[in-house]
């Protein structure tokens, strides 16, 4: 298969478009979920889609995507309400409620799966592909449905943008403004089920949680405005969706869901490490730079103090003595100071260690440091 064949491949186009649609909806809705610290709710909703998939199949009698997605939406919403009921009406906390909804709904799904299997083969019905996703099974007609669901979700988000934003960042204030906060929160949660529904064929029920969380978590590292975050999350979701789906569709026998999830996870890793401003690597580098600068100033101050005590501005300080004074090897520090022209090497007797003298510039820097520390300092 040449590169051109690849680019014009019909299946590949379908898969890439499906992945793009999925990326948009999960990125947008995931942003709200992550910011509202409802990340794991997505996990419950995605596992809870399994019984819905089976119910949809049982009702329709065939692998009709409309019914299946409808069923998934129904049980997903039911799981969300279960979590809500358990946390509001019993002494169980959110984590336990999510775990309960997730595992029990999935168990019911497993039972229903065997019911279908007995009736005439779930693998024949192709329901197993909903577990881990199989991008190659997506049809053009499916794209219309996925696009439609995404369109509805985006329209709702755009129409209620201000309200959702307020509820996400300051629910208390939203309440004082008279907004129906609980209703909006429930809407945001249940809409995650829409994203799950769109991702069923690509990622499958088991891993959809990652698709809700990862693009949003990655996007958050690069930007700090909700508008930007939502758009960037959609783009990252699209990119990881396309990468994963295309690798899978090339036919190495790899499930699509895990590939997409790993692509999204890689995006998160890169973002956490390297995002400008927030990246862990930059922070670590900044800390090292800061420590070095501090060490340099400490050594300069020590040398100035020694010079003052000896009444000799050009007092040559021995490196070993500075080492002992600072309880660390000052070699690197002194060489960096030398490169910046703040110290210079002094002549010394053979057999003695290296000696260093402050340059006028080094002396000014050291005086500034001592002045900052104040009279109480060394």
């Amino acid at each position: 298969m040449t590169a051109w064949d690849l680019l014009s491949d019909y299946t590949l186009h379908t898969v890439a478009m499906g992945a793009a649609i999925l990326g948009v909806i999960s990125g947008v809705l995931g942003s709200f979920a992550v910011l509202r610290q409802q990340s794991l709710m997505g996990d419950a909703l995605s596992h809870a889609a399994l019984p819905g998939v089976c119910l949809g199949f049982l009702v329709a009698g065939t692998r009709d995507l409309g019914w299946i997605l409808g069923g998934a939406l129904f049980t997903g919403g039911l799981a969300a309400l279960t979590v809500l009921a358990l946390t509001r009406l019993s002494r169980l906390k959110t984590d336990a409620a999510i775990g309960i909804a997730l595992s029990v709904f999935f168990a019911v799904g497993v039972v229903l799966l065997t019911v279908i299997q007995r009736m005439g083969g779930a693998s024949q019905a192709g329901l197993e592909t909903f577990l881990f996703g199989q991008a190659a099974a997506i049809l053009r007609s499916d794209l219309v449905l996925m696009g439609g669901v995404t369109g509805v979700a985006l329209t709702v988000v755009l129409a209620l943008w201000k309200e959702f934003k307020l509820v996400t960042f300051d629910p208390e204030f939203a309440r004082t403004l008279g907004l129906p906060v609980t209703l909006l929160e429930v809407a945001l949660t249940v809409m995650v089920a829409l994203a799950v529904v769109v991702g069923l064929q690509m990622v499958g029920v088991v891993l959809m949680a990652a698709m809700v969380i990862a693009p949003a978590a990655a996007a958050r590292q690069w930007v700090s405005r909700l508008e930007h975050m939502v758009v960037l999350a959609a783009l990252i979701g699209m990119a990881s969706g396309i990468v994963g789906a295309v690798i899978s569709a090339l036919g190495a026998g790899l499930a699509t869901g895990p590939l997409i999830v790993l692509a999204a996870s890689a995006a998160v890793l890169v973002s956490i490490l390297f995002a400008p401003g927030r990246g862990v690597v930059w922070e670590a580098a900044g800390r090292v730079r800061e420590r070095r600068r501090l060490r340099g100033r400490q050594v300069l101050a020590t040398m100035l103090s020694l010079a003052r005590e000896h009444g000799d501005p050009d007092y040559p300080a021995e490196q070993g003595m500075l080492d002992a004074y600072h309880r660390l090897g000052t070699h690197g520090v002194l060489e960096r100071l030398e490169a910046r022209g703040q110290v210079r090497r002094a002549r010394h007797m053979p057999g003695e260690g290296r000696h260093w003298v402050l340059t006028p510039e080094g002396r000014r820097e050291a005086e500034r440091t001592l002045a900052e520390i104040g009279p109480g300092g060394r």
Binding site: I98, S103, G109, L207, R220, S265, I272
Partner: protein
Amino acid sequence: MQAILDNPALMIVATGLMVGAASALLGPFLILRRNAMLADAISHSIVFGIVTVWLITGAVAGPVQIAGAALTGVLTVVLTELVAGTGRVKHDAAIGLVFPALFSMGVLLLNVYAREVHIDAHTVLLGEIGFVWLDTVELAGYRVPQALVWMGAMAAVNAAFVALFWKELKLATFDPVLAAAFGFRPRVLFYALLFLVSGTAVAAFDAVGAILFIAFVIVPPAAAYLLSDRLVWIVLGGVAISAVSTLSGYGLAVAWDVSIGGMMASMTGVCLAAAFLFGPRYGLVAGLHRRARQAVENEARALVVHLATHEAGAERQEENVAAAMHTHLGWSAERARAVLARSIDRDFVRRDGEALELTETGREEAEALLQPWRRGGG
């Protein structure tokens, strides 16, 4: 003896009971620490551990394999803490980022080595408790199902752990700071607990798969938690509830010819729903009943206080009559009649034509409410 061990039904139920007991022994500590979702994370990511260990050692079952794969579970928690520790994402999002990535790697490895590993993606999710009796090992001259041996061993280890460290676990769960002050090392204990959860997940993997295991860890202890306040009853109750679920689940699965593991896990959900609705102290029905009784009690109190307030005044003719309950207390005629009937039954009020008069008991009740400081001679 061998006849018993060759009976598939008995072996399936015995394995189920061991899975339930081993999981329910550990679950309460996760739920009470609000870490229930770690069970979710661990049970997903041990798939990666199982495949990796298989690739290294060439076997799936055995103590080394269980311990090795269980390390992945601990690794999940360590990685989650690491990701959350960067401060770049919240804790819940960190969980949802780490385990899908590990799980995805596990599934992809399964795809790649599908031909060589006897576990496929299907088993990962659903387990095959119906076939545990096929895979046996020689033990003291008897052929025993392998899954039963390892599950029994894990149940024994977990029981020993919980019994030996009961006091420490209890303190570390409810007051980790005090536990640390006593030198109990709550973090070490917690990681030991997570290691055992992981080991149990690995041992239970063949029987119930990765996801149904979550139901066994979280749901029965959560149901027990809805029934009792005492840790010992939560632990033992969880074990009992999981036994009930296993037995009823097996019966129903055979009757309906559906997934045995799925039905057992579904039954834990039914038990939880029962505890949620009908629990004597924290159940929904009991709560509603209590509230209704409280409302009745308050009505009677309102009446006696009303009568006592106006007893001595000139307005007595107007206030202390049956009609005033409707006009002054704002009750509907029907409600007023019911309250009056109950108050007369309880000997709070005497009726003299239209006039209402407090009895001795009624006056005492009113005084206790109006002047609570006089009560009990304190």
